[in-house]
């Protein structure tokens, strides 16, 4: 059915898009399919890291009491994460986590943003490796903080045993253990990954679908235009998802740390 529709203006891409569209040939060596060291994805990661480092070092090289516009912008990002995530979620003790959360937030935001930046058009977070790293760091962080705050035994007792009648505990303890120590990092990673994966897939479907219809039958051209208009609309939606997922990832990490520090359930 789609066999003859595969020669698209965009190149060799096939319709419908598949998982393989997320695994591009590597850059060095050029075109290799089994080398992952230097690919578009790792390049984007380095670009994101470089851009963030340069941006923050440049804007904060010479901080003034009365900020310049750029300094104000950098401070606003930090101030937003510090006050609206760290302090709101954890309370006053949250200030010391604000630097990490801000780094996390900026990193996720910029890597997500590649999804709609022209010529990149795909987020590194649509490969689960990157969200997984961040989720593992958040996981280790909240457990470490909980153990350091409460002590090993008390932390696990606190985390595993909810204040419930003893006869319900055999049911609750495994559920708590499962949700806290297995589901949390997994859901954190998959949420971000799946959002970026699905976003890219949606854009692919509507973009390539337009070409596919155009190639199948010239009379379908108006429908192709509708499809591309949808792509624009979905790009705007994607912009929202990009910011929202960066925010959600940071807020959930903060929430886990808050839970680890909490005295009561």
């Amino acid at each position: 059915m789609f066999g003859q529709a595969n020669v698209l203006a965009a190149g060799q891409a096939e319709f419908p898009p598949s998982v393989e569209d997320f695994y591009l040939p590597s850059i060095l060596p050029w075109g290799a399919h089994d080398s992952y060291w230097i690919t578009k994805f790792t390049l984007m990661i380095w670009i994101a890291v470089g851009v963030l480092i340069i941006f923050f070092l440049a804007t904060y090289r010479n901080p003034k009491l009365v900020p310049t516009k750029k300094q104000w912008f950098a401070e606003s990002i930090y101030g937003f994460v510090r006050n609206n995530i760290s302090v709101d979620m954890i309370g006053h003790a949250g200030v010391r986590f604000a630097p990490y959360f801000t780094t996390l937030f900026c990193f996720v935001l910029v890597t997500n943003a590649f999804a709609i930046i022209p010529f990149f058009q795909i987020s590194p977070n649509s490969h689960i490796a990157f969200p997984a790293i961040l989720a593992v760091i958040s996981y280790l962080l909240f457990n470490y903080i909980g153990i350091r705050h409460h002590g090993f035994a008390k932390y696990f007792k606190h985390a595993l045993i909810p204040p419930a009648p003893w006869y319900i505990l055999p049911l609750l303890v495994p559920i708590e253990a499962f949700s806290t120590f297995i589901i949390r990092p997994f859901s954190l990673a998959v949420r971000l990954f799946a959002n970026m994966f699905a976003g890219h897939m949606l854009l692919l479907v509507f973009t390539l679908g337009g070409f596919a219809m155009l190639n199948a039958n010239a009379w379908l051209a108006p429908v192709s235009v509708v499809s591309w208009v949808m792509t624009v609309a979905l790009t705007l939606l994607e912009a929202l998802v990009i910011v929202l997922q960066a925010y959600v990832f940071t807020v959930l990490s903060a929430s886990y740390i808050q839970g680890a520090l909490a005295e009561e359930h």
Binding site: M1, F2, E14, P16, S18, V19, E20, F22, Y23, H33, D34, Y36, W37, F41, T42, I45, W46, A48, V49, L52, I53, F56, L57, Y60, P63, L65, P67, A74, E75, Y78, G79, V95, A98, P99, Y100, T102, T103, C106, F107, P124, S126, H127, I128, A129, F130, A132, I133, L134, I137, V190, F193, F197
Partner: protein, 179 residues
């Protein structure tokens, strides 16, 4: 159908299985980012925030201190002014009292002096008068006796001196004249 075929094709990636190389690259990249930002950027931001808070609170505190000092100084100046006014009034009163006293003194002294001068004059006059009277008496007696001698023709001087006639007469005159 096509989808399944693609998945079953050449490499067959599973999107839920992370790629090892990407984990390594991502970890290193994120570690570098964390290191730089957490070590060099955000602490400085905290410092700047703190400095800003200090600047604002310090400014307010300084202003309050200055205000308090100004108020205290004002109070002090007012007290000093009031004190100075009281002093001035006291000094004026004292001066007035002193002047009055001095005036009284001078007046009293002048009065005394004038009294003294008048008294001295009176005494001098009285002495003078007494002398003149005494001399006149002697002279008038002599003249009268001489006159009487010339009239009577003989010297009555001795007689008169002996009997004090003239003196008696004059005394009688005096006493009638004084009356």
């Amino acid at each position: 159908m096509f989808f399944l075929a693609a998945e079953g094709g050449e490499s067959g990636h599973n999107p839920i299985i992370p790629i090892g190389e990407e984990i390594v690259v991502g970890t290193i990249a994120f570690a570098v980012l964390c290191f730089v930002l957490i070590k060099f950027v955000f602490p400085r931001m905290e410092q700047t925030f703190q400095a800003r808070v200090d600047a604002i609170e310090g400014g307010i505190k300084r202003a309050e201190a200055a205000q308090a000092e100004a108020n205290q100084l004002l109070e002090q100046y007012r007290a000093q002014l009031a004190e100075a006014r009281t002093d001035a009034a006291k000094i004026r009163d004292d001066a007035r009292a002193d002047a009055e006293g001095i005036r009284q003194d001078i007046l009293a002294k002048a009065r005394e002096e004038s009294d003294r001068v008048i008294q001295a004059g009176k005494d001098a006059l009285a002495a003078e008068r007494a002398t003149i009277v005494r001399e006149l008496r002697a002279e008038v007696g002599t003249i009268a006796v001489d006159l009487a001698s010339k009239i009577v023709g003989e010297s009555l001087a001795d007689e008169a001196r002996r009997k004090g006639t003239v003196d008696r007469f004059l005394s009688g005159l005096e006493s009638t004249g004084a009356r």
